[in-house]
Amino acid sequence: MCIVYLAAFLFSLTSEQCSSKLIEDSSQSFMERMHSGKTSFIYFGNHVNPTIKLFVEQLVMSADALQDYGISVVKVNCSKDAIANYCTGEKLMTRAYLFRGSEVLRSFDIDTVFDVNAIVSHVLFSVLFNEVRYVHTPAELLRVESTAKQNSDIVVGHIPVLGLPEHRALMEAAFVYGTKYQFVQTTGTLVLKHMGVVDPSSSQARLWFLHCKGVSRRSDPCPSTPMRKTLNTINIHTFLQLMEAPLVPQTQHLDRATAQTLALQLRGEVGVVLIHRDSPNVKAALKYNAAYRLPQEDVTYFTLNSAEGVVKLFKEELLQEHKLEDEEEDEEHWSDLDILDDEVSESVYRDRDLMLDLESVIELTSDTFQTTVTQNEITVVLFYFKWDAVCMAFIQSYIEVADALEGMNGVKLAAVNCGEWTDICSDQNVTSFPTVLIYRPMAEAQLYRGMLGTKCLHGFILLSLVSSPYLLSSSAEVMSFLEGDLYSKHMYLTPVRVLGLFSSTHDMGVTPFEEAARLLRGETILGLFAHKEAEQWVEGLSVNLPALLVSRGPGVPHEVYSLPSSSPTDLVSLIKQVELDRFPELTVENLPWYLELGKPLLLLFIGKEDSTESTKALAEIKRPLSSGQLDSFLPCWIHLGRTPVGRSILEKYLGFVPPLPVLVMSRLKTGEEVFLFPPERPLMAKNILQWIHDVQSGHEQPAGLIPDGKWGPPVPFFDFLAIMDQEAPTYAAQRAPKMKTGGREDHREQKHVTQNQRQTPHPSPNPQAPRQHSEL
């Protein structure tokens, strides 16, 4: 009974709105619609309550609006035509769907599309998804900019809350101008800050025009013009029209430069026109050379002396409302200075009320230092400053290591606060902070050269406990060292083993090797096999003793290198080099070792999920590796799951993230181009080699550029001199040349004396008042 009544009500609603553009679909017309391929926004309902009633009213209004964009707004009465999938389920009544043909582009909660503005903005945004870029961070915006440079201009809209009239206005503009300009929408406050807005907490919608098309060099930034009026369709339209208009139309003669400067500065607010004085229509008096007209006012003539004067006139006087705004911005610009702008300092600063628990770390003093560092097998000492953000960031990792190693015999972690114990730090020759030194009794302190992080330091300390070199006395032991018991003992630290092979302990190379091994303590597991049996290990290879054997774990073929006689430090760099993987997975921790090689990178990005595709791709790149065809490259890969920052790298390279896995060639040192292995081609060894060949012969177009941006100061500095000159003009000025060097004090003294002399007249015979003695 109830249903019947409701149905009648719905029907009555429809009949009332037959003049509107809202279409009501039956199951048949719905099916047709599905096959038409047109875009439609459809709501499925089966009854009406007050909320739904309000929504339907909004739906009706939106039908008018969306018709202009070729989008039909449809209502389906499920009580009449039960359409499969949509007229059933919990979501019924509370959801609306955007279809393109039969495909659902997006579904909306009706709370999201609560009114006509929300409906129009969300629908248009979905439809325009490929045209309107959605950015969160300044970096993303910069990427959009860099692709747009010399190509098209950009319209950036900041919409703090989606679905409001401002959002709709922006989307409508995007629909109209989408082919002309790159539209960017952002909701993030970060981008606001980036655009120079000082108070990002204000929920005002904003719009900027970035003049990217006209930039002369790709390295230049796109100049931007903010729209100063409220965001609505008319204003956006006017603004974009102004942006589009040539800076100075009908330009003639030499005044052009002046006019252009003026136009640039007043862009978006005032149009600038040059008119020839001799033209018959000009009635201006000779003393005037310029004129302006404000909306709804007459033309006012004036004399232009300088472009700055005019800009001032407009900005400060004629456009009063903007003036206030500008002032506000200026003021807050400086308060901005009190925000920490580097990630390390800021993250440490956020922990300022956090008491560091230094319990597991011994704090050393001048009195305890010497005794402590000789007591343990290994004493690790961190030298730090309390006020140095980098030190304080590292000390957190350091404490983590200390906690992890607590209770371990023979290892102690200690710290020296160099702000207090400056004498220890000077005595130990520490000039860089933070520094970690490893002390062993009766040995020189060893500098920890690795990454300042928990994992690396922890591994280093554990490796330091392994004797270096590991002396092996028989082939059996060598076997065990490379893949047996001796191997598995330290397997969890590193899979790599490096073995020095000498024919006898008397070999000249043994001593430097042992010294090198000591230097590499904590970094590499080194074995030493000085024995006549060593010969066996190089048998059949083109290498003679002494030799260096590198094993990357059981089952992996060994690599053997001949070992030249050289100094321990040279040996260290040799060992570090042969240790490097030939097809490494790049991680945050190991990249520097590989970048040092200076080769172009052949970089494979692999997704989070270990798909068969990824494994295949890895194998395909490995294949040409052994044949040496990739020797001029560094083939490597990044796993986006383990190294999520890899995604940002990909985005920076290409401007977007293509489906993974993806192969990229980046010539970091030698050029600026990044090449993308065509995604449509299968990742096969021969294709890869062909592609490399094409790239080298210049047949491939680069997919992106690596900027050679100079890292200048990130913010303008606070110019005290300028402020002094402004507030106390003579204070910071060099003296006039003729003045003597004598200090200020001398002058004062002389002055004092002359004063006294002046005050002392010499009326000798009748000294009326020797008043020069004054009690002050």
Partner: protein
């Protein structure tokens, strides 16, 4: 005593003669002669300080001292035996360098325990403790001091084309010195000539027993620390104490100059201002005369003879003016009332007679021992009491003769602490470095730092260095920029900056240089009034208290630049300047007010980004730009990146300083729309969160 001394001297001479002939250096037959590369004249604090540095660098040196022990000035002065140099032994800190900021008596050495606090724990120690400390210093460091050698004559001589010096002592022994280091201090009491100056007692010889001043009216000439010290000791006995000198009292706590009146001695200001019969008067010393007159002198009615009874014949001293005395003669014995100012001006301040007049006008350098060509010029400042010296403390006109200690105060007279132990111990160190460069070609010690370490090194110096702190405005750290690294030179005499390369042996490149100076504010306001301290870092240049200032020059300032430097500035106008805002606790280590503004200044000077980055950011930047930021280049790419933990990186992400990779959109593939949807929804939600 009188018997022993000549004996000792004889012994000394004997040993010298023996030693001289033994070493084969006695060229002049019977006239004994010794030669040394360095002769240090005077075993006071400055002489011993230089002795320490010469001994440490193993130079051929001798310290000549006329008395039998070191620091004999302090056996006599200050007359009332209380040192006013601060001996603050508890600072709450264990940083040895920092603690020297508050230890004004110790000399510099590499012995951590060779500090004055071993001798005395008093904040204002007794003067007797100081020679004891110096003796300990000599003994423990084994300095070569020759006592009892009273040099009466110094001549210039030519030694291998360079000017050397020959010193002759009271026994005719001569010392040939390639380099002479004069640290004789100031011994000659400063006097001003006026009529009746012979009636005046000197600070050096007044009795120190207050009882001798009982009920006496005392006029003290001078308003410095010795005048006030004298006044203070007799304050409870004298009836009236007046202090007379040309200039008004300068208070050390107002001028920040420790040579001005210290609050330790200023009780008389109290009794003056509370009208307890004491007072201060300003006037020229050259204009006055002191005349003797019998008590109640002047014309008397002959009839009354009863008035003069008890104090018959006791004469009193009057202050008058030269111009009131008879022009024709120095006959001041017949002084009449007309010769006194009170006769003309009935309320003349100093009209009452005095029982004593005491001169406390300070001391001057003894120029008399120097022969013509060896005599340094008189300084232009400090009333010519001091020898004039160059910015590197070499006597003007006397090459290879350097002046050390209090005598070298003309460089920073009434400005800094160069006339005092806690100041000149650092200038002596600086001069020694200059000697090492000039005579032994050993360049000024410099620490080589990668640019990424520069900021923390500056902060370290700012927070602990004692040299620039004590010798504010005079000694400063120089940072020579060399591209990707820099050289850090400590405590260079700022006025010698134009000669930096020659004096330090460190060439300059076209990368420019930075100078770190500690300075007091220049616009002195009411020292205790409101607004005396600045806490806003953007107004740091208005700081009134001691604070660090950095000057950036892209080329070395010339002497002309130096001469024409802005009034009151230690250095010429630089390309850029940075003041670190004064700090109540003198701890310049806060991230927002101190570190970040400093970093931005350095970034401007070096034209590079100096921000630190976590390893993850460096990873990204190293792969996506050809030259990553400096911190990544000098840290991460050298395998010393700062990884940080996830907790910190999360902070950085929340602050929006590090990109968040977890939730990035993946446009372009099939999942894009649904991914986008998550975002659009999230944006709505997150806005709401922001609004909360």
């Amino acid at each position: 005593m009188s018997v022993i001394q000549p004996l000792l001297r004889l012994l000394c001479v004997l040993s010298l003669v023996l030693g001289g002939s033994g070493s084969g250096s006695g060229l002049h037959g019977h006239n004994s002669s010794v030669s040394h590369e360095y002769c240090v004249l005077g075993a006071g604090p400055a002489g011993l300080q230089m002795g320490y540095f010469l001994s440490r660098s193993q130079r051929d040196y001798i310290i000549l001292e006329r008395n039998t022990g070191p620091g004999s000035f302090f056996q006599i002065y200050p007359r009332h035996r209380k040192l006013i140099s601060i001996n603050k032994i508890y600072t709450g800190r264990r940083n040895k360098e920092f603690n020297l900021r508050h230890d004004w008596n110790s000399l510099l050495s590499d012995r951590p325990d060779l500090l004055f606090q071993r001798i005395s724990q008093e904040l204002y120690p007794s003067a007797d403790d100081f020679p004891r400390y110096l003796s300990m210093f000599v003994k423990e460091l084994g300095l070569k001091v020759k006592y009892g050698a009273d040099i009466g004559r110094i001549k210039a001589s030519d030694s291998n084309g360079n000017q050397g010096y020959i010193l002759t002592d009271q026994n005719g022994v001569s010392y040939q010195c390639s380099v002479l280091l004069v640290s004789t201090g100031l011994w000659v009491p400063q006097q001003v000539d006026f009529l009746g100056s012979d009636l005046v007692e000197g600070y050096e010889s007044i009795p120190t027993d207050p009882e001798e001043f009982k009920d006496q009216a005392v006029l003290i000439l001078g308003k410095g620390n010795s005048a006030f010290e004298t006044a203070q000791s007799i304050l409870g006995r004298a009836s009236r104490i007046h202090l007379y000198s040309p200039s008004p009292v300068r208070l050390a706590w107002q001028t920040h100059y420790v040579g001005d009146l210290r609050a330790v001695n200023n009780e008389l200001l109290d009794t003056y201002q509370l009208k307890s019969l004491d007072g201060l008067v300003e006037g020229r010393l050259e204009d006055i005369a002191i005349v003797r007159r019998e008590k109640d002198g002047g014309r008397r009615r002959k009839a009354k003879k009863r008035s003069q009874t008890s104090k018959e014949g006791k004469e009193q001293l009057y202050l008058t003016l030269t111009e009131l005395l008879d022009q024709n003669g120095n006959n001041i014995s017949k002084v009449t009332g007309q010769n006194l100012p009170g006769f003309h001006t009935d309320n003349f301040s100093l009209r009452q007679p005095y029982d004593r007049v005491i001169r406390c006008l300070g001391f001057r350098f003894n120029f008399s021992i120097f022969d013509g060509s060896a005599r340094p010029a008189q300084s232009s400042g400090a009333r010519g009491r001091l020898p004039g010296v160059t910015a590197w403390y070499e006597g003007r006109g006397t090459p290879n003769m350097f002046v050390l200690g209090t005598a070298a105060h003309s460089r920073d007279y009434r400005m800094s602490a160069g006339g005092f132990i806690h100041g000149f111990r650092y200038t002596v160190r600086a001069v020694h470095k200059i000697l090492e460069q000039r005579y032994h070609n050993i360049a000024w010690p410099a620490t080589k730092l990668p640019l990424s370490q520069l900021q923390s090194w500056i902060l370290r110096r700012v927070n602990e260095a004692s040299g620039p702190y004590q010798m504010f405005g005079v000694l400063g750290d120089i940072i020579l920029l060399r591209g990707s690294y820099c050289e850090y030179l400590e405590e260079f005499p700022l006025q010698a900056l134009p000669q930096l390369s020659a004096l330090s042996g460190r060439p300059l490149t076209d990368h420019g240089l930075l100078v770190l100076v500690m300075q007091y504010g220049l616009n002195r306001t009411d020292t205790l009034g409101p607004g005396r301290a600045e806490s806003e870092w953007t107004k740091a240049w208005r700081s009134n208290f001691l604070h660090p200032v950095l000057y950036y020059y892209n080329s070395l300032p010339t002497e002309k630049d130096m001469r024409q430097r802005p009034v009151g500035w230690p250095l010429p106008r630089p390309e850029a300047v940075h003041h670190m805002v004064e700090d109540f606790l003198t701890e310049w280590d806060q991230p927002i007010s101190h570190s970040q503004p400093l970093r931005r200044f350095l970034e401007h000077c070096l034209q590079t980004d100096l921000r630190p980055f976590y390893a993850e950011s460096c990873f990204l930047l190293s792969l996506t730009s050809r030259t990553p930021p400096l911190f990544c280049r000098q840290g991460y790419l050298r395998k010393r990146g700062i990884v940080g933990n996830s907790h910190l990186r999360q902070h950085a992400r929340e602050a929006g300083l590090m990109a968040d990779h977890q939730g990035d959109v993946t446009p372009g593939d099939d999942t894009s729309v649904s991914e986008y949807l998550k975002h659009a929804g999230a944006a709505v939600v997150s806005t709401m969160n922001f609004d909360l």
